[in-house]
């Protein structure tokens, strides 16, 4: 019983974290059909920027509660700048080329960002645990859980709800949906597709950096964190169906619970479980759980 509760809570925590980390990836794919490997680089840049900024903030001895704002601002700044630079300066040159080629371009960008992180912040680890310790722990079903990690659940829910609402209900969402539906048609109706791409990519990049920032207080921010996260984020997004925000929620929950179950019941299969779920879903439903079916024609 205790294990079940632990699996459930840990699974939800982990799912929330996965969703925050992966949703930017799905957003960019959904609109631009770009599988953005550089997402991993944005994640680590966000984590480093946040850890560094939080460190500075606490060195000044300012009000601890403000550190959450610092966390968020640092990631938005980094994600915005890097995202804008990547889309305007790099991706733009390759639109219309082979899908796989664009993956390689973002892979190149990822390699560059990984080293950029090393150049800026060096190789030593940045601890930024203060925001997490600040919130202490909570007891659920007799087990202690980190309040900070639990808080990721409502945070993820808010991000998901906001994205779905924006896409479904607002004017910007309408433009974005028009571009998703048919790019040529949208542009012939006078929609500035280039701008929709830029905005989408920057938002996706900020989400990636934000994913890193919220992670910074619960891990030791060190070189290589982006490398691990990018494959995890792929797994989540592919399971849900590339390009579907709702799918990413389901994908995150599936992977989160599968991993939590593995960790508590059979720790040897932790990583195995995640990618086994991904393979299984791809095998049974190649387009993922939520992606719209494509039509065939002769």
């Amino acid at each position: 019983m205790l294990t079940a509760a632990a699996i459930l809570v840990d699974g939800l925590d982990y799912a929330a974290w996965l969703f925050i980390v992966a949703v930017g990836l799905t957003l960019i794919y959904g609109v631009m059909k770009v599988v953005n490997v550089a997402h991993g680089g944005l994640y680590s840049m966000g984590a480093y920027a946040a850890a560094w900024a939080v460190g500075l903030y606490f060195d000044r001895g300012l009000a601890p509660a403000g550190s959450f704002l610092v966390l968020a601002l640092a990631s938005v700044a980094v994600g915005g700048v890097v995202g804008l630079a990547l889309e305007r300066g790099l991706l733009r040159l390759f639109y219309g080329r082979d899908d796989i080629l664009i993956v390689l371009v973002t892979y190149a960008a990822f390699l560059i960002l990984e080293n950029l992180v090393l150049q800026i912040w060096g190789v030593e680890a940045y601890p930024a645990y203060q925001p997490a310790t600040l919130l202490g722990t909570m007891t659920i079903a007799g087990l202690p859980f980190s309040t900070y990690e639990l808080a990721l659940v409502p945070l993820a829910a808010a991000i998901g709800a906001a994205l779905i609402w924006i896409l479904a209900r607002t004017r910007i969402g309408k433009l974005v949906r028009a571009v998703i539906h048919d790019r040529e048609m949208a542009s012939s109706f006078g929609i500035d597709v280039g701008r929709v791409y830029t905005v989408t990519f920057v938002v996706g990049a900020v989400l990636g950096a934000f994913g890193g920032a919220v992670t910074a207080p619960i891990i030791s921010v060190a070189p290589g964190i982006g490398v691990e996260v990018i494959v995890l984020a792929f797994a989540v997004v592919v399971i849900g169906g590339l390009g579907s925000v709702a799918g990413t929620i389901v994908g995150a929950l599936l992977v989160g619970l599968a991993r939590a179950a593995a960790v508590h019941l059979l720790p040897q299969v932790e990583l195995f479980a995640i990618y086994a779920v991904m393979s299984l879903v791809l095998v049974l439903r190649p387009q993922g759980l939520f992606a719209p079916a494509r039509q065939r024609r002769i």
């Binding site: 993956v103 960008a109 990822f110 080293n115 592919v238 990618y275 791809l282 095998v283």
Partner: protein
């Protein structure tokens, strides 16, 4: 299409020269050349897939299967013979690809890339957590014997290089033969128009399956030879970054010839060897920038620099 089989006539020349060269190389260069040729084999397989527009982001799976087949057979069965180990690695990677191929052959584009990635990460996840398989540290691989002959370490490296030269020659010969055959021509035909291939009466999925198994065997052989040359295996050999390197070398090499992968691997290993020594914190950045420049300015890889004059204007 004419450029397809360019290179085979160079085969005996290039590999013969390499074999002779190996006699005068320093031990480090013998080692480096072995690794280059072995990794070139993996890339040769990717090149065959890439000609059909399929890019595997998980080819390290078969690289790892080959390497671990060698490592495990030495550790648990005491098998030391290089030829037997290589045969075992080929069999293991072929068997794995035969099974996974039933699934993968249905996928194209990004889904093919992602599913191959997922499969390779399953192997990685298994290796990392399994003590029997050496977990994160992996284990050492002792120097091999050759048909009953058990040379000392230095001599063994020379012998291994010769074996690798032979494997690379045979691999590129078979690849050239395959690419020149009707089935090999299907590689580009499938990228052009799958419907037409089906309506010529050939099952596209079978053509892709054959290609996939061939590529996997090349990767398995490469993995086995690298394991023997390095003398150590660990799960990083199957991690996605390893697959990423192979993809990088494929783009670097270009699809022009069956020899291009070896040239690509040579450039890559040379850059890596010196860059990791002199610029450990910026060498990935150098790689990334090279990759971008290649895609922009040399989409058919470095090999196209050699063939440029032959391509007449249409």
């Amino acid at each position: 299409m004419g450029a397809l089989a360019r290179g085979p006539w160079l085969l005996p020349l290039v590999f013969g020269a390499l074999a002779l060269l190996s006699l005068v190389l320093t031990p480090f260069l013998v080692y480096l050349l072995t690794v280059i040729l072995a990794r070139g084999l993996v890339v040769l397989g990717l090149l065959i897939l890439w000609r059909t527009g399929l890019m595997s982001f998980g080819q390290a799976l078969y690289f790892g299967v080959g390497a671990y087949a060698v490592g495990l057979a030495e550790k648990y069965w005491g098998l030391r013979d290089a030829f037997a180990l290589l045969a075992l690695a080929l069999a293991a990677s072929a068997a794995m690809a035969l099974v996974l191929g039933w699934l993968l052959r249905q996928y194209r584009d990004i889904y093919f890339a992602m599913l191959s990635l997922a499969f390779s990460m399953i192997l990685y996840g298994t290796l990392v957590k399994s003590r029997v398989l050496g977990s994160t540290d992996g284990f050492t691989v002792p120097a091999p014997h050759f048909l009953g002959w058990a040379p000392g370490p230095a001599l063994a490296m020379h012998a291994l290089l010769l074996l690798t030269v032979a494997a690379a020659s045979l691999g590129s010969f078979l690849a050239a033969r395959y690419l020149a055959s009707p089935m090999g021509h299907l590689t580009t035909a499938i990228r052009d128009n799958e419907i037409r291939v089906e309506y010529l009466g050939y099952p596209v999925r079978r053509a892709i399956h054959v290609k996939y198994v061939f590529a996997a065997m090349l990767a398995g052989a490469g993995g086995a030879l690298v394991a023997l040359a390095v003398g150590h295996i660990d799960p990083d050999m199957t991690y996605w970054t390893t697959s990423g390197e192979f993809v990088f070398i494929t783009i670097l090499a270009g699809p022009g010839s069956v020899l291009a992968p070896f040239l690509g691997a040579a450039i890559f290993e040379a850059v890596r060897t010196y860059a990791t020594a002199y610029a450990p914190y910026s060498w990935q950045m150098v790689l990334g920038i090279c990759l971008l420049l290649l895609i922009l300015f040399l989409p058919r890889g470095v090999w196209s620099l050699f063939g440029a004059r032959r391509r007449a204007a249409p």
